[in-house]
Symmetry: C2
Subunit: 367 residues, 2 copies
């Protein structure tokens, strides 16, 4: 069956195309009775106007472009979900673009611009220059960012409150009696990591703890490197009783290091992460962490974009979304001194069968 056109509907209703178009566009000028009649004809014939024709005639498009990093993160899926849930309620559809690397990225942005297909662009940023987007925005295309790394920008954007999130984690640890609290950084080139570090420092100060520079561990993308550094940290006589990691994946490496040293999480060392990616509920023990509200961030960015498209340009700087501390089992009261002795870690690749921990004879069993 060939698709019906506005001409068919007009004919069936005994009216002109113009009138049908008016009811399509909710014009108040059309008589209520004829409107109902037209609506009924459309409904009964399952009519939907052609998107292409409408777009051409109106000179605008019902699409929102969405660029996501070409990575298989939990984060991307979670943000997507949030974005989809609000766009769904709007007259727009989402066109999905994936950008894998920096090079493709600026040509992708150019392609999007040139196509003129998108009424606005929602970008889940990653480690990329924001210049192409700023240019696009200045050229008049509405843009909104889910700014995952806190990259400075004048574009409308949403990001987690990295500073407050970390402060909350510090407060939690202080309440548990921890005083020697270490921080394993992420990549300090990113603003979000700088903000989290400020949160660490200020959280310490609020708890009346003098920061010990020795307790700050430089981050790495390479988990074995993190493990190595944390192992060194734990070998100190005055080792920390708690470690805040600047993201969950780092926290995993930290937990590994604790085990490698023959210590226990959380009895000997409490560990806190940041992000709350899906797997953090399934680590052993489940990770206490600062949750980034990814779906809400997606929703907020989508709303921002929709507003910008509607011309409500409230350029109020980045929206900061509150994080929440998810207390699971990787944090506990600070151990009283004397500390359990850390075991010198094995040297070189570990070829002996891996034990789950290095518990000694005097370990209390919970049975």
């Amino acid at each position: 069956m060939p698709k019906l056109t506005i001409r068919d509907i007009a004919q069936l209703a005994g009216l002109s195309k113009s009138t049908v178009s008016l009811v399509l566009n909710n014009s108040p000028k059309v008589d209520p009775d004829t409107r109902d009649r037209v609506l009924e004809v459309m409904r009964s014939h399952n009519y939907t106007p052609s998107t292409a024709a409408t777009a051409l005639a109106k000179g605008r498009t019902p699409f929102i472009g969405m660029i996501v990093p070409g990575l298989t993160w939990h984060m991307v899926a979670a943000v997507n979900w949030g974005v989809a849930s609000v766009i769904e309620q709007s007259p727009y559809e989402i066109i999905l673009y994936t950008s894998t690397n920096e090079k493709d990225y600026s040509s992708l942005v150019e392609r999007i611009r040139a196509s003129g297909l998108s009424a606005g662009l929602l970008v889940v940023t990653h480690d990329q220059s924001l210049d192409p987007l700023e240019k696009l925005h200045r050229a008049g295309l509405p843009v909104a960012l889910v700014n995952t790394l806190g990259t400075p920008s004048t574009l409308p954007s949403v990001q987690a409150d990295n500073y407050e999130g970390t402060r909350t984690a510090l407060r939690h640890l202080a309440e548990l009696g921890h005083v020697r609290i270490a921080c394993v950084q992420g990549l300090m080139a990113y603003e979000c990591c700088q903000e989290r570090y400020r949160g660490y420092l200020d959280g310490l100060a609020e708890a009346g703890i003098d920061p010990d520079p020795e307790l700050t561990v430089e981050g790495s993308f390479h988990p074995p490197t993190i493990r190595e550094r944390v192992t060194e940290l734990l070998a100190r006589r005055d080792r920390p009783t708690a470690i805040v990691a600047q993201n969950d994946n780092t926290a995993y490496a930290v937990m590994q290091a604790v085990i490698d040293c023959g210590l226990r999480v959380p009895q000997d060392v409490s560990v806190v992460g940041f992000d709350d990616i899906a797997s953090s509920a399934d680590t052993h023990p489940p990770l206490t962490t600062v949750r980034q509200p990814f779906p809400e961030m997606g929703k907020a960015a989508a709303r921002l974009l929709l507003e910008a498209i509607d011309g409500a340009t409230g350029d109020a700087g980045p929206v900061r979304m509150s994080t929440s501390l998810i207390v699971r089992e990787s944090t506990a009261r600070a151990a009283k001194k004397p500390y359990r002795r850390a075991r010198p870690p094995a040297v070189g690749p570990d070829t002996t069968p891996r034990t789950w921990s290095g518990l000694g004879p005097n370990v209390s069993r919970n049975s």
Copy 2:
């Protein structure tokens, strides 16, 4: 600056719109020299034809609809990535639809049909009826499925080779000397789980092992229930030395249960999962599992759809993608008898501080 139209280009090149249109559509009828001239004008003025106008004139659309389950799985992100990477190379763009529940789902499909926006539909299925899609397909819209649950269907689709995957896992365990091998099922209502179970049974048979019905554990979506059932299993005198779980999340619960019983993975019990979701590399110990090639599944489905749109209707039944066994640290040689004694698990909610394992005094430390 107002967007250039084909008329502008024609004028700039001193030609008619018709000719410009012909070069736009790669017609061989146009003189090579004039073609080059037109191309140059377009390039230098950064011209791109209006998608809406083209779609309207040609009567077809450059969009592929993609329905993904409204879930924040690793899987969805991984499949997306694969789909995007092949669609990117085609003239199509992806319109992203998210379906959260069954009810929305069929109305979503209807909306997609009515809009006529999509030249084809790529669906990442979940727990849903395939009827609306079959109908759509019969009505002439190309459809391709990433069939995550192996739901029977005549639609072009791709799915993991669940049967072979599990057989491979069994072979791995048999080679490690395991004989008492248990299976913790998923939800047997799903075909994929039935296929995996057949793989388990046949894998057992090929290793010359008689299946023991007592070693089949019914699945559950509720991890605590799984833990409970596995705890019972491990309390048996003739407990298994290896457990295959029908998916990674189940494997996590199984590993927990092993620890709850005071046993070790993999020294006392080897554990194998299925899926290889991202977190499985980070469990403790890292999980040996059967990897579903999600990105490749996405790519294959995208190719299938593109072919169907081009009219190459090779209705050859579902494409089965090979899995691969990822051997990590949750599997090891079968322990020799006598077995280490399982500890009776604590009753009721575990309020004592969680230890990492229940290792006794005679545990070898690897230092």
